[in-house]
C-alpha cells in the first residue's frame, strides 16, 4: 500500500526563508507491525507540528513490495528516509522525539 500524502494541503510562502522549502519523505513499514504503526503515527505528529506547509510522504509496505525495500537499500523497518531537501535516513519507530527533531533540524524551534 504505497500512498503519497500531502500533509496540510498546499504550500505557503514562509517568512524570512526567501523561498519554498520542499520536504519529501519515504517511510518504510512492515504491514501493521506495532513499530511500523507507531512510526507512522509519530511522524505524522511531527509533520503537523513542524511542517505547516505539509510535505510529500510515501509510505511503503515492504510486505507488499519487498523488492522496493531491497533496491532502496533498506535494512530494517520502520525506516524513515528524507529525500528532500537533503538525504537523511532515520531508523526506528520515531518515538524519541528530541532526537528525531534534532536529526530533522527542527531542534530549538519549540
Amino acid at each position: 500500500m504505497t500512498s503519497k500524502v500531502k500533509e496540510r494541503g498546499a504550500m505557503k510562502k514562509g517568512w524570512g526563508t526567501g523561498g519554498k522549502v520542499k520536504f519529501a519523505f519515504r517511510l518504510y513499514v512492515a504491514g501493521n507491525g506495532p513499530n511500523s504503526t507507531r512510526a507512522v503515527r509519530n511522524f505524522k505528529a511531527v509533520v503537523n507540528e513542524f511542517m505547516p506547509e505539509g510535505c510529500d510522504l510515501e509510505v511503503i509496505d515492504i510486505l507488499e513490495d519487498p523488492l522496493r525495500a531491497l533496491s532502496d537499500g533498506i535494512l530494517v523497518t520502520p525506516t524513515l528516509v528524507r529525500a528532500s531537501p537533503s538525504a537523511l535516513t532515520i531508523i526506528g519507530n520515531l518515538s524519541d522525539k528530541p532526537r528525531l527533531l534534532m536529526a530533522l533540524g527542527f531542534a530549538g524551534k519549540t
Binding site: 507491525g33 530494517v76 531508523i91 526506528g92 519507530n93
Partner: protein
Amino acid sequence: MTARSIKQDMSRIKELVKRLADAEAAIESLIAGQADAIIDPHSGALILLQQAQQALQQSEARYHRLLTHLSAVVFELDPAGNILFVNDNIEKLTGHAPRDLLGKNWWDVFLPGKHRPQAEELRRRLRDGDVDHYECYWIRRDGSPIVVELSSANRYHDQTGSLVGIVGFATDVTARKQAEQRLRQAAVVYDATPNAIIITDGERRIRAVNKAYTLITGYAADEVIGRNPGFQGSGRHNHHFYEELWQSVNETGHWQGEIWNHRKNGEVYPAWENISAVRDDKGTIVNYVSVFTDISSIKESEAKLDYLAHHDALTGVANRLLLGTHVDALIPRARRRSRAFALLFLDIDRFKTVNDVYGHEHGDRLLQMVTTRVKSCVRAEDMLARVGGDEFVLVLEDISEPHDVAKMAEKIIEVIAQPFWIEGREILTSMSIGISMYPDDGETGEDLVRAADTAMYSAKIQGRNRYQFSTVELTQRTRAYFSLQSSLRQALAGNQFVVHYQPEVALETGQVVGVEALVRWQHPELGLVMPERFIPIAEEIGLIDAIGEWVLRTACREAASWEEAVPLRIAVNLSRRQIAHNHIFDQVRSILEETGLKPSELELEVTESVLQDRHEGVEALEALSALGVRVAIDDFGTGYSSLAQLKQLPIDTLKIDQSFIRDIPHDPDGEAITAAIIGMAHTLKLRVVAEGVERPEQLEFLKDRGCDDWQGMLFSPPMPAPALRRLLAPATERVGA
C-alpha cells in the same frame, strides 16, 4: 592513483560509511525493539520480528478462516502439480482429507487412469496461461465424478520470473449442472408437450403460455399475456365452482378436474386441468401453473362407447345393461309416487327355426323388423330392450290397471302375428309375452325380469302366441275383465240390465216421497254386478250412452206405472258424458212423452263437477228445468261449488255425500259440514237429502238440523220394482220408521 580514482574511492568510502551508519542504526533499533522487519540485502528475504509475526499470524488466521468458510475449494500446487495447500472443503467435495493430500500429485489423485486426457487438457491450458471459469470434472474418492468449475487457476512466479506454483479456486457445480439440465429438459417439455401450459404471476395475470396452448385454444401468446385466465371461461360453471377451485389451489396448492373453456373461435370444449401454486421461500404465492389437455375427443369417444355399451348393435334398442339402470332408477320413483309399472318379457316363438331354415341374416332382419313393430305399439317413454337372441323386455311406466298392460300385450301379439316379408319370402311368427308388475311381483329389477321370464314360459307352455301375467290372480282378473267386457256388449241386447230403487223418506212424516233409480247388471254367470264394476268398462267401450238411455227410459216407465197408486218422484243419475251430449234435452223430453211421466216427477241427479263450468249440457238442464224437470246435485260437498254458482243454476235439491253422514256422530267435521250444507240449502230454498243413513243416531242428528229427506239402509236397500211395490202398499203404516 589518479584524482578521479581517488574521488571514486572517496565516494565509495562515503557510501560504505553511510551503510555502516545505517547498519549501526538498524542494529540499535533492533536492540531497542523498535524494528518490525529485517531485510537481507543479499537475498532480499524478509525476517519478520515477533510482533510483526503475530500480526502476520493473525492475518494468516483470517485467511484460514476465509478459506475454511468459503464454499469453494482453494488449492496451491507446485509446477509439477504436487499439492502444497488445499482447504478443508476438498473433503466435503471429494472425500479426501486435506492432510492426506498434501504432497501428492493433484492429477494422479483427481484425474487418474483413463481420465488422463482431461488432466492433460487442463495442464496444457495452464501451460498456456491462467485459467478462468473452466468447467471440468474430478473423480471423488468413491470413484464418482463431480462437475467443478475452476473459477480461476493462476500461476505465480518468483522474482526471477520462473513458475513457482499455481493457485486455484474451484466450486462444485454438480447441483447447478443438474438444475441446468432439468431446466433444459423442462424447456423442451414445455415446448414439446401436447398439454397446454399457462404460467401466471401471483395476481393471476398470464406471464407465459406454451405452443400447445395456442394449438388448443387458438389464442396466440401475445393475445393472452397480461390477462386473467378467467377470460377463457365457457359460462358452463357457476361462480361457486371457481371459488372452490381457487380455494383448493390456495389452501392445498393444487386443483385438478374437468373444466369447460372456450376457444378463440367460440367453441366450448372440455379440458382436464391441473392447477398448482408456486410459492417463494417465504410462502407467498408467486406463480400459478396450469397444465391442461383438451379432452373433447375423449368425451366424444366416451359418449360413443357409452352408447355402444348401452345399446344393442343390431336393433339399436337398449341392451340389458341400460335396462338394468333404467329399472333401478324407475323403482324408487315409482315407490315415491305409489305408482305401478309393468315389465313385459317378449320372446319370438320358434325363432330358432327361422334361423335354421332361412339363415342368420334373415334371422337378424326379422329381429330388426320385430323391433320396429313392437316400437310402433308403445309410447316414446316406454323402454324396449333386447336382452337375448330373440328376447326383449318392455317397460311400461305409470300403468294403473293390469288390463291396460294386457291390452298392450295383445296389440303387440297382433302386430307380430302379421306376416313379415324378407327378401320376397313370407315369414310367419308369433310372440309370447310374460308380464310382471311392480310392486306386486318384485321389489327389484332382477326379480321383475325373472317373474316376467317365468310368466313368458308359462305362456309358451299354454301354446304360444299369448301373454301371461306373473301371478295367476292377475291373469285371471285380466281375463275376467276382458270376458266382462265382451259379455257387457251382449248385456243390453240380452236384456240383462235391471233397475233397482232406493226410497227417499221425508224426515218429518216418515213417508216415502221418492226413489232413486240404480242400475244393476244381472250377469248370467256372475249374478248381480254392481255399476262400479261395469260402468268404467261401458265408458271405455262406448256403451255408456245406450245404458244411460235405457235406465232413464226404464225408470220413467216404471215410475209412470206407479203414479196411479202413489205419486213418487223418481231420481235418475246422469253421467257427465250423457249431459255433454247435445241431444240430452230431446232425449229426456221424448222419454217423458213416451212414458207419460209428469216432468215434475222426474229428478235428474248430476255431480257437482258437471256444473263446474258452463257448457251446452248446463243449458240443456236449464231447458229441462223450464219444462218442470227437477235437478239435484249428487254427492254434494265433495266438489268445489260456490254459493254464487249454485244460485245461478236450475237446482232444486242437494244430496249430501254419504261420506259426511257415515262419520256422524263420531266425527265433528262430518257433523259441522252436514249442518252447514243443510243451512245453506235452506237459505237457497233447496231441498236437502241425506244419503247413506245407516244408524238411528244419524237420523236423529239430521232431524235436529232440519234435513228434509233421507235415504239409506236404515230404511231400505235398493230393491227391484216388485219389492218396492210391496213396500209402498203399506207405506202409510210405517210412519216414523
